[in-house]
């Protein structure tokens, strides 16, 4: 059975601006979605005459859907974190080199701007295999 209720859908603004912040978390460069606004959904009756009339009469349904959908992208994205890059432990023979104190800055080299990260490295000998300590 075809829909007797029909709405045109629009979002304003589209695309919607969200905020992503980038910070250092331990030894990793981590992006976090910090702000996702309501997506500005609007529904307006559409279709043939009968559909438009019924959809207009049942506009509370549109209000219900707008209230439910507007925060969906926020629910799906806000607070999500993404590891963009990290200095992984570097295994060499029987030692492991790890990075810490990662700090961000900028540098211009050869006329091009770069993100610069500085770190402190430390080396430790791996315990002999079979060791429980």
């Amino acid at each position: 059975m075809s829909d007797t209720i029909s709405y045109d859908v629009s979002f304003s603004p589209s695309p919607a601006t969200i905020t992503i912040s980038v910070t250092v978390v331990e030894d990793a460069l981590t992006a976090t979605v910090t702000t996702v606004p309501d997506i500005g959904l609007s529904l307006s009756p559409s279709g043939n005459f009968v559909q438009k009339v019924i959809s207009a009469v049942l506009i509370p349904i549109a209000d219900l859907i707008i209230a439910a959908v507007n925060p969906k992208p926020r629910d799906m994205l806000q607070g999500k974190t993404m590891t963009l890059g990290k200095i992984p432990p570097i295994p060499v023979e029987n030692v492991t080199i790890t990075a810490s104190s990662l700090a961000l800055g900028g540098a211009t080299l050869g006329g091009t701007d770069y993100l610069k990260a500085t770190a402190t490295l430390a080396v430790a000998v791996n315990p002999p295999s079979g060791s429980n300590g």
Partner: protein, 318 residues
Amino acid sequence: MANFDAAGGIDLTSLNTLLSQYYTSAEQVAPGNNPFDGTTSKNVAPLGDVTLTWKLKSAPVLAFGAPSQADWNASLDAAGTTNGAAGNPVPTGAVAAVSIANMTASYTVAGVAPVGGETHNLVAYATLAFPAGEVDVTLVGLTIDESDFAPWDKAIFNTMLVPALFKAVTEMLGVIHVPALSWQGVSLNPVQIALSGNQLTAAATLTTNSAPIDTSGVTWPTDAVFVLASKPLIDAALAAGVKPYVGKTFSDSGEFKDLADWNYSGSLDSISATTGTLSPLTVNASITASLNVGGSLTAAGMALAVVGCAAGAALLAI
């Protein structure tokens, strides 16, 4: 203009700090069984089985640069012959020297008290090669003060200690690595490693960067340990980071006061995230979504609509 998307560097001071930490940690974790403190046995004719023990009394110190001709000529090659006598040329290119201030070494022939002593200012020379992201270390010379050694001691040490030290120093130099940064979802071309003064550096381009890598004339940061990332590289990492969320769907359905059923289904069609500024690092990001909405009257809703239409028609007829 320089062309690279990712780079890293470490200076000599940091490498020596790593070497010192390696020395301390090795002595704590595996005393007597590490490159700085070890034992090896070998059958040396006509003595029979000889056991050699050595111990560095302080952490070795790394330096970059070729030795002088005189120092080189006096150093031993892997066979225990002086490089001068063997006619080996002074190494060129990337050369590392590991200096050991004090080392004790002794050997024991079965049933005989250990023979040996302390040697000072031992220096090992190694060439460094950088094929496809690696640091290949080849020990090419070893300076060891054997002036106080008896001929037999010298023969035994050159037969056993020199190869053992070659192996040990190669393991020590294994800590020479440029910090590699693992970028989420980003493919880089093979890393180009170079020794620039007292800095070991590595650089690479994105596989999507078709221009050849070029670090000529670049003045690297003077930070002890650094990593650099270009805007395209961060953009690629951001794109990879948000990709799992693109296309995510949401939907629901329900009934409105028993009069109508409704439903919707939507998705996050796109997520754009690109670098705004690099310092401080900011991101410009946006999303687009789509939605389909539908519904239909229930039987009760349909009946009400019919009644409503009839009532309307009746009113119009009056």
